[in-house]
Each structure stands twice: as structure tokens, then as C-alpha cells.
Amino acid sequence: MSELEVVVTGGQEIWRGGESPYAIPSKKLGMWLFIVSDSITFGAVLFCYAYLRLASPDWPTPFRLASIENATIMTFVLLSSSVTMVAAVEAAKAGRIASSVRWLGATMLGGVIFDVLHIREWLGLIHEGLRLYHNDWGSSLFGAAFFTLTGLHMTHVTIGVIYLFIVATGFRRGKFTSDDVEISGLYWHFVDLVWMFIFPLVYLLSARIR
């Protein structure tokens, strides 16, 4: 075995077939692969955003302190919902089904609060005249990029809430296992992870400082 192989495989004969080389269920590997692909999708949109922003000298910085505060609360809610998700997974692994379902409920609640706060902010911006195709403060691409990026993320959060709901009900009825809870957790943490990039790139870099 070459040195590289040792590093990659951990020095064990895990590729010989008849078993998963990662000692995880295939479904979990599938979710990981989906996350790889989806992170590249988000990456590409973020790169587009950065590309267009670099090319536009009149990129606006319209977010007043209130917006930043709102986005900070959203970040807090999403990060905390990740912790409740972890708790749900831990409970599920320990066989405490009722507790796990409660934690899943808390996570969904976090997602819903995030969505509500976000939509409230969207409505505020729309009220101020920001549109997908238009913006009074400068480059029209600001509105396009903002709504596309955050909209894509909000869609993921919403899908996540629905997904968690399905998993929670199925888990309570014994249709799903703790593995399914863990896999839905991967998705949820990924949505959280993406927000860790959108928050500074979209909000903090467009904060109105003076």
C-alpha cells in the first residue's frame, strides 16, 4: 500500500467489496454526495454574485443597522436550530424517540422563524422599491443577485422544514430509523453552512456604515 493510500483509507482494507468502505449506510453517502453537488451549485451562484459585484462600480450598500440586526438574529436562529438538530440526532441514536421528535420540532420551528424573519425583510425591501429587475440605489443586479441567492437559500430551508416534518412523523411511527434522522440532520446543517457564506457576502459587505 502506498503512502497516499494509507492516508486516504486509514491503512485499512476497506475497499475489498462486500461492505461499505466508509462504514455508513448508503443513504448517508448519497446525502453527502448531494451536499457536495449542492455546495458547488451554491458556490457557483456565489461566484456569479461576486463576479458581477466586482464588475459593477455602483454596487449599493443599503443595509442599515436594522437589517444587519435582523440578519444576525436569523443567523442566531439558524445556528441554534443546528444545535437542536444535533440534539435530535443524539436522542434518536440513544433510542429516545419522543425526545428526538421534540428536538426535531424545535429545529423545524427554528427554520420557520428563519423563513418568517427573512420574508419580513424581503417585504420591507420590496416596499423600499427593491425588485428582482430594479433597484433605486445603483446596479440593478443588486436586486437580482440578492433575491436569487437568498431565495435559493430560503427554498432550501423550506424544503428542509418539510423534509424534517416527514422524517419526524415517520420516525415516531417507526417507519424511519435513527439513520434517517441523522441524514436529514446532514441536510439541515448544510443549509446552515451555506448561510455562513451568504450572511457575510451579501449582508455584511453591503452594510451601510455611515
Binding site: P21, S26, S37, A55
Partner: protein
Amino acid sequence: MHDSSKPTTEHHHSPPQGFLWTHVFSLDHKVIGKQYYFLSLAAVLIGMVLSWLVRFHLAWASAAIPGLQYLSKVGAPGGIITPEYYLSLLTLHGTLMVFFVLTTAPQAGFGNYFLPIQIGAEDMAFPRLNMLSFWVTFVGFVVLISTLFVSDGPPISGWTAYAPLSAIGTDAGPGLGTGQVLWVISIGFFCIGSLLGALNFIATTLDLRAKGMTLARMPYTTWAWFITAVLALLAFAVLLPACVLLALDHLGGTSFFIPGGLVVSDKLQPHSGGSTLLWQHMFWFFGHPEVYIAIIPGLGITSHILTATARKDILGGTRVLVGCMVSIAFLSFMVWGHHMFISGMNPFSSLVFSVPTLIITIPASIVTLNWIGTVFGARLRLHTPGLFAIGFISVFVTGGLSGFFLAQPSLDIYLHATYFVVGHFHMVMGVAAIFGMFAGTYFWFPKMFGRMMSETLGKIHFWVTFIGVYCIFMPMHYLGLAGNVRRYSAFVDDYLAPLIPVHKFITIAAFVTGAAQLLFLFNLFWSMYRGKKAEENPWQATTLEWTVPSPPPFDNFGGRHPVVYRGPYEFAVEETKDDFVMQDSPQQPARS
């Protein structure tokens, strides 16, 4: 807590009942593989007819094609193709061929059918997802075909859909409104289908290998499908958002790909701030890996079939061949800029992109030399699949070598957007990949349908096709050298008019070659019902798909769990009666 070290899969389902569940919404990878195959077959037929129309128009621009006016009254009044309809047909031809044929048949079609069998699995890792990816792809296909029937026809912006032509809408030309939106939606669906399929392929290959099927013992085809799936998972993830943004430019009034100050049809466009180069970057970031998504399964299929044809392993074996395929796949993400040398991209980038582009020729040359070296001293059994595999080597060399020219930015100044490029990519990506598909069809048909295809018809098909493609695509290189620009619907200027006889020659060659494909089609359907019954291992090959009945039972191995004891291609073994040893044959200790 249940044991998570065992790969959990859904494949312990029982055989479904009823036509709808066995043939339409089947979860069986074999049925889905065939569905993909026939979807591609439909796409390739339409694509071929489109290419005939396009070629006919290039040779006889003012001649009428009887009956065409019924397809589009505006596009072909009296059967004469208008310049815009020419571009519509061209766009549809390119899109169908690249996405729904080259990406679909060798990977999703054959891959779905044979990957699980070759690694000794009962099914794919996620059968439901597998069915979903097929139906999503199918919707994409239907949406694309529907552009033929909307008011102003398919888009005229080519399969690359360069913005802003593709983003502005009907002001820029016919087909760029509804047609273009449908095109974007279709490709979006295709991306989703491909991503789901790729995910499934990767998980299947990694998790569901039978006992003893180490990575080094995977057949070349399995490796090729696996590498291609990785490429697809990473590349389609970039095309998908690009399609979303382009759709938003149409439907949401955004200007991602449209800069300010454009005056189209005497109207100042209400857009500003976008970048046309951004579309090109995103498209080709996907587009170059896509070229390898189309050809790597071909490399795998050719190598796989060449072993059974030559009765020996490929020179260098798994280590060299897979090493080369992996390096090609890796490099394919670093070279997309060679499509954009003269696009107005930063000229420094061109120099940077040309180096990895030229470096890709090294693994490609190694693979080719090893194939040629394999034929040396072989005991060739030139049945039809073998002929197509060897034909693949020849066209791959021809098409690949012209890449040397196009990889150099300075030569690309002259050759870019000429027929040289058309000849190059048709030869290396179109013809080579299609030769791979033909080889695969003739090779695996007995396994898929339980009957043999006619060798006589197959050989006629091979000879006409082999000579035909050289007659079609070699002259294109000469035309490009003479400066014949591509995507012209007619050659009206003084410079190009003298080249029309060459176009007539190409068109006639295309019709003859196309006719041979009808022979193939006849052979395919005739053999399905009337062909000679196939035995379990008609080609005396060694991999696991030849250890099961033809066609395989519902769960592939009839409840048996195959165990693999040796490498995939052990031919010319002296101790045995035959000159080959099956992968799951435990009789003697493996030689290596």
C-alpha cells in the same frame, strides 16, 4: 441500534406485477437502463434527421424538402428552410445529440444496466431515485422536443446558448422567446436527472461491490462509469444554476448575462450591469467536463470489448488505463477556457488554459498507444463489436490529433469557429462516442435481450459507417483550413461559394452513412424477436455480467451472492481448457 456498517439498500424488493410497474415505472435498474437506451435511440433518430435537413440545406440552399412545410409553415415555407429555421434545427440537433444521446446512452443507459451486474450487486443503491432520474430526464426530452411545435420554433442560439443572444428574448430573433425558455427548462431538468443519476452511480460503485470486488478488480467499464459520474456530479452542479440565472433573465427581467446599453431591433434594452462572459465561463466550466462525460464511457466500453476481441488484457492493465482516465477527468476541470480563446477573455488566461489542454493529450496518447499495443500479437476475433471497438481507436486518434491545433491559442485565432472545429469535435466526441455505443450495443445486446444480433447486417453497418464518417468529417477539416465559417446557413459570399462542392460531397456521404443507421435500427428490432437465442457468455468474456443468464433474472444473480476471486480480464491462461477465466471462478489461485 442497528448495525450501520452494512450498506443498507432498498434492493430487497420483490418483482413487481403488471405492465405499468414492470415496464414503465419500474425500479429495476435493467428496465431503467433500457428506458434510457431507447430514449437516446429516439433522440439520436430525431438528431440524425435534423442533421440531414441541415446538411441538405448547406449543399442545396434553395431546394425544397417536400413535406417540411407541415412541420413549420414559417420556418420552411414551401419546404425551403429559412436561415433562422436552419439555426433552430442546428440548435436542436446539437442539444439533442450532446445531452440526450452522448450523455445519456453510454452512461445512463449501459451504465444503469451493467454497472450493478458487473460489481455483483442486485440493483442500484437507490432504485427509486434511479426511476426518478429517468423520468426527470424524460420530461426534459419532451420539453425540448416541444420547442419544435411552439409558434416561432426552437431557439436559434446554438447548443451553447451564448448570451446575450439567448437572454434578450424575441427582439434578437425568432425562437429566442418561448423556444429559448423551453430550452433552458429542458436543460435544467436534464441537469437534475443527471445529478441524481450520478449520485446513484457513485454510491452504488462504492458501496455495493460484491465480496472480493476490490477497486483494482473492477472492469474498465465500471471505472469509466464511476469516473464519469463523478464528473457529472461536479459539472452539472454548475450548469444548473447557470440555467436558473438564464431563465431569470427571461422570466424575471434580471440582467445577469446582459450588459447595459444594448440596442436590439432599434430598441434600447432595459438591462444593465450583466456580463456575457459570465455565461460563457459557467457554460464551459460545465461544457468541458461534459466532453469527457460523453467520451470516458466510450473509452471504458472500447477497452472492455477490446479485451474480449484481442483475447488479452489491455497493455498496462487497470493501473495505467484507469490512471489515464482519472488524470483526464481531473484535468478536464482546468481547461474550459480553450473554448473561449478569442471570446474577449483575458488574453493571459488563454496562455494559462492552453497548457493543461495540451497536457491532456499525454494521458489520451498513453491510452491510445496501449490500445494499439494490445492489438499487437493478439488473437483477434473480429466480430461486429470488436470491429467497432477497433474503429473507435482509429476515429479517436483522428479526432484527438486535431485537438493539438485547437489547444494552441495562436492557431485558434485562425481555426476558431471554422469547420475545423466542427470536424474535430464530431470526430472525437460524436463519432468516437457513438462507435462506443454501437460496440456496446452489439456486445451487450445478447445479454440485454437474450438474442444475438445479425453479424452480417452488423458488418455491413460497420463498413458503411466507418468509411462514411471519414468521408463526412475529414473534409470538414479541409474546409476549416480554407476558412469556412461554421453555423452559416448558406455560403453566399465570394470566398465561400467555391467550397460548396465539398459540402455537397459531405451531404451525400451523410445520407449514405445515415441510411446504414437505418439498417442498424432494423437489425436491432428484428434481432430482438427473430435473432438467434443467445447463450450465457457468447463472447467468452470474463466479467460478472457473463456469469448470469441472458437476459438476467430480476435480481441479477438469482439470489446468489457472487464472490470475486480475480482480476477482470484474465485471458490466455494455459492451465484451463478455455483461454479465459471468469472473475468469480475460484478453481485456481489468482495469478496476480
